[in-house]
C-alpha cells in the first residue's frame, strides 16, 4: 500500500534498520525521491516511505529590486534558455521558468549599469524556437525601442541564438544596441557565466553600438566578453563558456569584466547611425540541408514545394552530380536554391570546377560568404518580401545586414 504524496510533504523512510526523516520530492523510475534532512536526495521503494505531515507553504523569496533613476533604461526581453534557468523543485531538472524580472534578482550587479523594464515573450529552450517567435520578438524589440529604451537585451538559449540574432538583424534596422545573451553553464551554479555575460550584455546595450549583436564569454576566464555581429556569429563548442566566435572577421568589440568597459572596433555600426525600421515579413517554408558523400539524391525531393532551400555543400560549394539534377528539378519548380559551404569560413565559388558550373546552370545561387544557417534565415526574409526570381537573386547576393561583406579579409 503506497500513499499519495505531494512534493514538499514531510516523510519518514526506512533504509535497512535506519529510520530517516526528509521531504518528498518526486517519483522517479519507480522510486520515491526523498530529500533527507542532511540535504542528500535518495531514491527509496514506495513501500518504505511514510507520510509524516504537510508543512504550510513557505512564502517565496521576496527580494525587492531597486532601480537607479539616473541610469539609462534598457529593455530585457526574455525567451528562456540557460541564463534564466533554475532547478525544478519537483523533478530536480534544470528548466527555464524564470521571468525576466527574476534575472535582476539573480544578477544584482546589473542594477549599477542601467534601469530595466522586462518582458517575457517565451520561456522555451532555444531548440524549440520558431520563425513566428522571431517575428514576435522583432516586433517586441521595435516596441521597446519606440518606447524609449536605450538598448535592448534579449536573453536566449545558446543553441539557436545565432539563428535568432540573424533573424533580428534582417528584420530590424536599429539605432540602438540589440544584444542577445545567454549562458553556457546553468544559472543555478555559483560558477555560471550568466552573471558575467549579463553584465557585459548590459554594458554593451548602453554603449555607442547601433546594431544587433551577440555578447558572450571571449575566453575560458571571467575576464571579458566578445561582441559578435549577429549575422557572422556561430556556436562552435558544445559546452565551453567561450563557445561563440565570429566567423570570417574579428569580433566587433569587447566588454571588460567586471568593470564593463566597452571597446568597439572600427567595423561596429555606431548608435544612431540607422533609423528604426521593421520589416517582419517572413516565408517560413524554407529548408537547410547538408550534403555528404553518397547522399541519396531522393532526399532532396522532400523539399519539393518549398519556397527555398539552402544547401551546405562541400568546399567552394559543391554537391555530387546526381544531386545537381535534383536541385535543378527544384529550381525548375520555382524553389530558390542557395549554395553555402560546410567550411563555414570563406567564399562560395561555383565557377572553378565542373560540378560548380553545373550547379549554376541548374539555377543554384551562390551564397557568397554566408554561414549556412544565416543563409536560411535570410532566404526566409527575402522570400517574405518578394517572389520575383530576379529580385530574390539580387537580394540574396547583396549584403543586407553584414552577413556577406564584399571583401574577404586576409586575416593575417
Amino acid at each position: 500500500m503506497t500513499e499519495a504524496l505531494a512534493a514538499g510533504d514531510r516523510v519518514a523512510c526506512t533504509v535497512g534498520s535506519t529510520e530517516l526523516g526528509g521531504t518528498y520530492i518526486t517519483d522517479r523510475d519507480g522510486m520515491r525521491v526523498v530529500k533527507l534532512d542532511s540535504g542528500y536526495n535518495i531514491g527509496v521503494h514506495p513501500g518504505r516511505v511514510r507520510f509524516a505531515g504537510r508543512p504550510r507553504a513557505a512564502p517565496g523569496p521576496g527580494i525587492e529590486v531597486e532601480q537607479d533613476r539616473s541610469l539609462p533604461e534598457l529593455a530585457i526581453i526574455s525567451t528562456g534558455g540557460t541564463i534564466a534557468s533554475r532547478i525544478d523543485y519537483r523533478t530536480g531538472a534544470v528548466t527555464s521558468q524564470f521571468t525576466a524580472a527574476d534575472i535582476l534578482r539573480a544578477i544584482p550587479d546589473l542594477a549599477r549599469i542601467a534601469r530595466y523594464r522586462t518582458r517575457v515573450i517565451a520561456t522555451i529552450l532555444s531548440e524549440n524556437m520558431t520563425p513566428s517567435l522571431w517575428q514576435e520578438l522583432a516586433r517586441a524589440v521595435q516596441d521597446e525601442i519606440r518606447a524609449g529604451a536605450s538598448g535592448v537585451i534579449v536573453t536566449h538559449g545558446t543553441d539557436t541564438m545565432s539563428f535568432t540574432a540573424a533573424a533580428l538583424a534582417f528584420m530590424i534596422s536599429t539605432p540602438v544596441p540589440v544584444v542577445l545573451v545567454g549562458s553556457q553553464r546553468s544559472a543555478d551554479r555559483p560558477s555560471s557565466d550568466n552573471a558575467m555575460n549579463g553584465v557585459c550584455a548590459a554594458s554593451a546595450a548602453v554603449s555607442d553600438l547601433g546594431e544587433v549583436v551577440v555578447v558572450m564569454h571571449d575566453t575560458p576566464s571571467d575576464d571579458r566578453c566578445a561582441i559578435h555581429r549577429a549575422t557572422r556569429v556561430r556556436k562552435l563548442h558544445t559546452s565551453r563558456r567561450d563557445a561563440f566566435a565570429s566567423v570570417g572577421l574579428p569580433p566587433l568589440g569587447t566588454v571588460a569584466y567586471p568593470d564593463g568597459g566597452v571597446e568597439l572596433g572600427p567595423g561596429a555600426v555606431r548608435r544612431g547611425a540607422r533609423p528604426l525600421e521593421l520589416d517582419d515579413r517572413l516565408e517560413p517554408n524554407c529548408g537547410l540541408v547538408q550534403f555528404y558523400p553518397g547522399m541519396d539524391p531522393g532526399i532532396l525531393d522532400a523539399f519539393s514545394g518549398y519556397a527555398g532551400v539552402v544547401v551546405a555543400g562541400t568546399g567552394l560549394g559543391h554537391v555530387s552530380t546526381p544531386c545537381i539534377d535534383r536541385l535543378g528539378a527544384l529550381t525548375g519548380d520555382g524553389t530558390t536554391v542557395v549554395m553555402t559551404s560546410q567550411c563555414l569560413d570563406g567564399r562560395i565559388c561555383d565557377r572553378v570546377y565542373d560540378t560548380g558550373r553545373d550547379l549554376l546552370a541548374a539555377g543554384v545561387l551562390e551564397g557568397g560568404t554566408m554561414l549556412p544557417e544565416v543563409g536560411l534565415v535570410k532566404l526566409m526574409c527575402v522570400l517574405g518580401r518578394t517572389r520575383d526570381p530576379a529580385e530574390v537573386a539580387r537580394l540574396m547576393q547583396t549584403d543586407l545586414a553584414g552577413e556577406m561583406p564584399g571583401r574577404t579579409p586576409h586575416g593575417l
Partner: protein, 610 residues
C-alpha cells in the same frame, strides 16, 4: 580531564581518496602533479545561488562577503570537466564498487537509488562552486558498539596552491566520506575509531596512500557547548590532541560567558569612526588605512585577550570573523598599547567611545565597506560570547588548535546534480559485492600461514607492496626474506635516494629467487636492487655478481683475513666477528652466502683464539 563529566560528544568524518583508474566524473587519471607541470590557467568568480527552496546557504553566504577571483592551474591530465566547461560523465562505476565494498565491510545498507547532489562550496576549491556527492549507504557498526551513519561517494576538491590559486589535478579524484554518529566519548576513542575506519578502507586495497590522501573532520561538543566541526586533520596522532584542545576551548568559552553575564556585559550596536585619532599614529597599519572604526564591547575587558587554547584567544576568534570581510585583522585594547599605538592614543580612543576600564574596544581598519562589514562581524561574534559557544566549521592549525572558517552548513547547500542520472543498487548488485579481508584478519592469517611474528604480519598486511610479498612467496622465496625485503630493505633504499618506481615487483621477486636458489647471497640484495633501479634486469644484475666462491676459495679468504688481523682479533676476541664479516664478504663477492661465511668465520675465529 574527566571527559564524561564535561559531557564530551564527538563524531568523526573520514575522507579517503580512492585509487581508481579515472576520476569520478571524467576520464582523467587520478594523478597528482607537481605544480610546475601545469600547462594552462584561467580565472573565475563564484557567487552564491539560491537553492531549490529559494534559500542561500549560510555557509556559502559567509564566503560571499568578499567577491573573490580564483585562479586555476590546468594540466595535460585534466580536462574541460575540471574546468567546469563540460557536463560530467556518468558516475565512475569502479569508485562506486569500492564504496560498496567498504559499506559491506561496515555492515551498512545501500541506498536503492543513489542520487548525485551538488553541495555548495564557494571557497574556490571547486570550479563549479559545488562539490558533487552521493549518499551510498547508511547504518553501519563500529567495534566499540558505536554507529556509522553514512558513507558517501564524492569528488575531491582542487588543491589550494596559495590564497586564491588552486591546482586542478586533485579535483574530481573519487573520495569516500564516512560519518560516524556522535557516539564517541573520549579523545582516545575518537583516535581509535579513525584508525579502525582507515584500516577497513585500506583493506579494500583500492585507496590512495600517502600524506593528504586521508583526512579527518572532527565533530566535537561538550555539555552546554555547541557542535563544532574541525576540518582537515591529516595525522592520526593529532586527533586526540585536537579533541582535547576543542574541549578546552569550549570550556573556556563557557567560563567567559559566565563572567560576561556576571558583569552584565553587552555589545554596542554602532561603531564609532576614529580615523581622526590615528591620523598621525606610529602604527603603520592604522595610519595608512582610509577608515578606522571602533566598537565598544561593554564589560569585555581582559576577556578578549584570554587564551582559549594554545595560541588562540577570544580576540583571535573576533579577528577570524572580521577577516571574512577582507580586512587583515583587528586590534583590541586588551593588547594595547602596542604595535605602534601609544598609551595616549588608547586614552583618547577610550574617551571617544566612553569606554570604562571594564570595557574593551576593538579597532578595525581598511576601506569603508570592508571595515563596516568587519565591525558587524566582530559584533556578531562578540554577542555569541554572551551565548557561549557558536556552531562553527573550523580548520585545524599546526599543533592541534583551530581557527574559524564559516558557520556550519545547512541542508540548503545541497541540490540535485541534474547532469548525472541516478544509479540503482539492485539486490543482485549488492549481493555480488565482495567484502574485503580486513587487514587485522589478514595479519592473523599471515602469522598462521607464514609463521611470521605478529608485528611483522601486521605491518605486512597493511604494506603498500603486499602484492610483491605474495608474488615472491608464490615463487618459492622464504616468507621472512620476502617480508624483510618489503618492510625494511626497500624502505632503506628509498631513504638512500634510490627510486623505487623503477624497481618492478617482478625484478624484486627475481632477485629474491636468486638468493633462495643460492645464486646470490642475502647480503647482496640491496646492491642488486640498486643495480635494477639503475636500469639492469634482475637476471643481469645477478649475473654481474659473478659466481659464488667455492668452499676452498672461501676457506683461503677466511684464513688470510684472520692471519692479517691477528692483533685486532687478540684485542677484540669473538667481538671481532662482525667487523671481519664485512671484510670477508667484500673479498668473497656479493654472491657468497652470508650465513655460510658467518659460520665459517666463527669457527676459524674460535680456533685462532684457542
Amino acid at each position: 580531564m574527566d571527559f564524561e563529566k564535561v559531557g564530551l560528544v564527538a563524531g568523526i568524518e573520514i575522507h579517503q581518496q580512492l585509487d581508481t583508474t579515472t576520476k569520478l566524473f571524467c576520464g582523467c587519471p587520478t594523478a597528482v602533479r607537481p605544480v610546475e607541470e601545469h600547462d594552462g590557467e584561467f580565472f573565475r568568480y563564484l557567487r552564491a545561488t539560491a537553492s531549490e527552496l529559494g534559500e542561500i546557504d549560510r555557509a556559502a553566504e559567509e564566503e560571499m562577503k568578499q567577491v573573490r577571483r580564483f585562479r586555476y592551474l590546468a594540466y595535460d591530465t585534466t580536462c574541460l570537466v575540471e574546468n567546469d566547461d563540460e557536463p560530467p560523465s556518468p558516475l565512475n562505476e569502479e569508485a562506486l564498487e569500492v564504496t560498496l565494498q567498504a559499506a559491506k565491510a561496515f555492515g551498512m545498507t545501500p541506498i536503492e537509488q543513489v542520487h548525485v547532489m551538488r553541495k555548495l562550496v564557494i571557497d574556490g576549491s571547486n570550479t563549479s562552486g559545488f562539490q558533487r556527492t552521493a549518499l551510498v549507504a547508511v547504518g553501519g557498526l563500529l567495534p566499540n558498539g558505536g554507529r556509522i551513519d553514512s558513507i558517501c561517494l564524492e569528488e575531491e576538491a582542487a588543491q589550494r596552491v596559495e590564497d586564491a590559486c588552486f591546482s586542478l589535478d586533485r579535483l574530481g579524484i573519487p573520495l569516500v566520506e564516512i560519518t560516524t554518529s556522535p557516539c564517541l566519548r573520549t579523545p582516545d576513542e575518537v583516535r581509535e575509531t579513525a584508525a579502525h575506519i582507515g584500516m577497513v578502507l585500506r583493506s579494500t586495497g583500492r585507496v590512495k596512500r600517502g600524506i593528504g590522501t586521508i583526512r579527518q573532520d572532527l565533530n566535537v561538543s561538550i555539555r552546554e557547548g555547541a557542535r563544532v566541526e574541525i576540518k582537515g586533520v591529516q595525522e592520526l596522532d593529532l586527533i586526540a590532541e585536537v579533541v582535547r584542545r576543542e574541549v578546552a576551548r569550549q570550556m573556556e568559552l563557557l567560563e567567559i560567558r559566565a563572567e560576561l553575564l556576571a558583569r552584565e556585559a553587552r555589545v554596542e550596536d554602532e561603531p564609532v569612526d576614529v580615523s581622526g585619532i590615528f591620523a598621525k599614529t606610529a602604527s603603520s597599519v592604522l595610519k595608512r588605512a582610509p577608515v578606522v572604526l571602533a566598537l565598544c564591547l561593554r564589560g569585555f575587558s581582559g576577556l578578549v585577550g584570554r587564551e582559549l587554547q594554545p595560541g588562540r584567544r577570544l580576540g583571535s576568534e573576533l579577528s577570524d570573523y572580521a577577516k571574512k570581510c577582507g580586512v587583515g585583522g583587528i586590534f583590541h585594547t586588551d593588547e594595547l598599547p602596542a604595535y605602534g599605538v601609544t598609551p595616549a592614543e588608547v586614552d583618547v580612543l577610550r574617551s571617544a567611545l566612553g569606554a570604562a576600564d571594564r570595557d574593551c574596544v576593538v579597532l578595525v581598519s581598511g576601506t569603508r565597506s570592508k571595515t563596516e562589514c568587519a565591525v558587524r562581524q566582530v559584533a556578531r561574534r562578540a554577542r555569541c560570547a554572551l551565548e557561549g559557544v557558536p556552531e562553527e566549521t573550523r580548520r585545524m592549525l599546526e599543533g592541534g588548535s583551530s581557527a574559524y572558517m564559516r558557520p556550519l552548513p545547512g541542508a540548503a547547500r545541497m541540490y540535485p546534480e541534474t547532469d548525472v542520472l541516478p544509479v540503482s543498487i539492485t539486490g543482485e548488485r549488492w549481493a555480488a559485492v565482495g567484502t574485503p579481508e580486513l587487514l587485522t584478519e589478514r595479519a592473523r592469517r599471515f602469522e598462521r600461514e607464514y609463521g611470521l611474528d605478529a608485528s611483522v604480519a601486521r605491518q605486512l598486511a597493511d604494506a603498500e607492496r603486499l602484492p610483491l610479498f605474495l608474488k615472491a612467496v608464490g615463487a618459492g622465496v622464504g616468507p621472512s626474506l620476502a617480508a624483510r625485503t618489503v618492510l625494511a630493505t626497500l624502505k632503506e633504499l628509498s631513504r638512500d635516494g634510490v627510486s623505487l618506481d623503477r624497481i618492478s615487483d617482478d625484478d624484486v621477486a627475481g632477485v629474491l629467487v636468486a638468493v633462495e636458489t643460492g645464486r646470490a647471497g642475502k647480503e647482496a640484495v640491496p646492491a642488486l636492487l640498486r643495480a635494477v633501479a639503475e636500469g639492469s634486469r634482475a637476471e643481469e644484475a645477478v649475473a654481474a655478481l659473478g659466481p659464488a666462491p667455492g668452499q676452498e676459495e672461501l676457506d683461503a679468504i677466511v684464513e688470510r683475513v684472520i692471519a692479517e688481523r691477528a692483533g685486532f682479533i687478540a684485542e677484540r676476541g669473538m667481538a671481532a666477528l662482525g667487523p671481519l664479516m664485512g671484510v670477508v664478504m667484500a673479498e668473497a663477492g656479493g654472491a657468497a652466502d652470508g650465513r655460510a661465511v658467518s659460520e665459517l668465520l666463527r669457527r676459524a675465529l674460535k680456533r685462532a683464539l684457542e
